[in-house]
Symmetry: C2
Subunit: 214 residues, 2 copies
DNA sequence: ATTTGTTTCAAACAAATGTTTGAATGTCAA
DNA sequence: TTGACATTCAAACATTTGTTTGAAACAAAT
């Protein structure tokens, strides 16, 4: 009962995620999803009750677990190299964000989707924030705070972390814009240079460049 | 012929911009726009031929000129205080982006709209890039480049500039997210602290903190 | 083979979408 | 005032939207 046709259900979840990420919620129709998933149109309402709920289920069953897997690979990467330095922490974060264990296409989808949700918050944003963003913030705080005791107040540190996320997300969501401005292709070579830049800029931004924390 | 009913045309342009910024192109209907603009539904097609063209006209006649006005006030601010320092340049840029000559609500709309367009590029993005982003990039290059001769290659400098934009835009587009994470209200006091932070982080990021460029 | 419950399907549903129409209203110079 | 034009309007247009329906197909246990 739950094994066979999960096939259809999963196919819908996957194609829906790809399409939502690519075009946004309103620009994708149920017909488009079910066509791509090669199933009947009624399947969406049968398995998910509504288009809106399908959108939320994409986050609950696909996006959040994938993001958490990314945190694990990020944490594992960190635990490999003790003791930490801000440089290594940021390096690992940037890699996880721009490379990670996923393929290029998966990663692009993954980031695009959350950027759309952040930009157009629905009720699912709270679930996502509680299950992924806040935990990640705590991980980073735990690993970076010791190096920056001068951040006496919490807010200053929070803004630093948020700024780093800002840059990381920006270089995802404005990909077309950036290639249009710089005239460069967003290939792997560029991405490598991008990571180097992001790490340096973020580290500098944190105020870690004068000190021997590299 | 063009004075009287410009009233209607302008009302449509203004309400359309507000709604597009608030909800995005697909989430706004022509009926919604004309209701808010207190005019007949057919007025959109009469004055703009299509909804899509109305969207592009919003950029051509409203958004781009407003952005250019912002550059002027930014440039004027800069020319007031010679000689420049990176600190002052970034300070002026951050102020222009988060405060500027516009009211809070206008500025929020203005940034939201371009963020949506960047995130969901249509054909108008090229016009916007050519008329606003590239010129602004040139202004910044002109004022900042002299302080960073170590940026021998162009790309490195470009990425620095883009990163600063990334942070600035991020703190606009993820406003709800940020208040949800930090638990703080996005009021004027917070905004002031935010600007201070952004200037420091960006300056550090550029690599200008060790030197006496403050 | 029959029953039970689940999943798929084509068809239809009401509601909402952007656009078009043609008459009515307004504007203003001749 | 008349005529020519621009603008507004209510109504209707054909499509597309998300959702529902009820029958058919399927699976697995009795």
């Amino acid at each position: 009962m739950t094994e066979n046709n999960n096939n259809t259900k999963n196919r819908i979840l996957e194609t829906a995620e790809a399409l939502f990420a690519q075009k946004g919620y309103h620009a994708v129709s149920v017909r488009e999803i079910t066509m791509a998933a090669k199933c009947n149109m009624a399947a969406v309402n049968y398995h998910f009750n509504s288009k809106k709920n399908l959108y939320m289920e994409v986050f609950r069953t696909q996006w959040v677990p994938r993001e958490l897997r990314m945190y694990e690979s990020f944490s594992k990467e960190l635990s490999k190299i003790e003791p930490h330095s801000p440089n290594l922490v940021i390096q690992a974060l940037a890699s996880a964000y721009l490379e990670g264990p996923l393929t290029n296409e998966e990663l692009k989808r993954h980031r695009q989707l959350i950027i759309r949700e952040i930009n157009n918050p629905t009720e699912v944003i709270e679930y996502v924030a509680d299950h992924t963003m806040r935990p990640l913030y705590r991980i980073l705080q735990q690993h970076l705070k010791p190096f920056f005791p001068e951040h006496s107040n919490e807010e200053s540190f929070t803004l630093d972390i948020l700024s780093i996320f800002g840059i990381l997300l920006y270089f995802n969501y404005s990909r077309p814009m950036i290639t249009h401005i710089t005239g460069e292709k967003y290939d792997n070579a560029f991405k490598t240079r991008l990571i180097t830049h992001l790490v340096r800029f973020s580290l500098n931004g944190l105020g870690a460049n004068g000190k021997d924390m590299q």
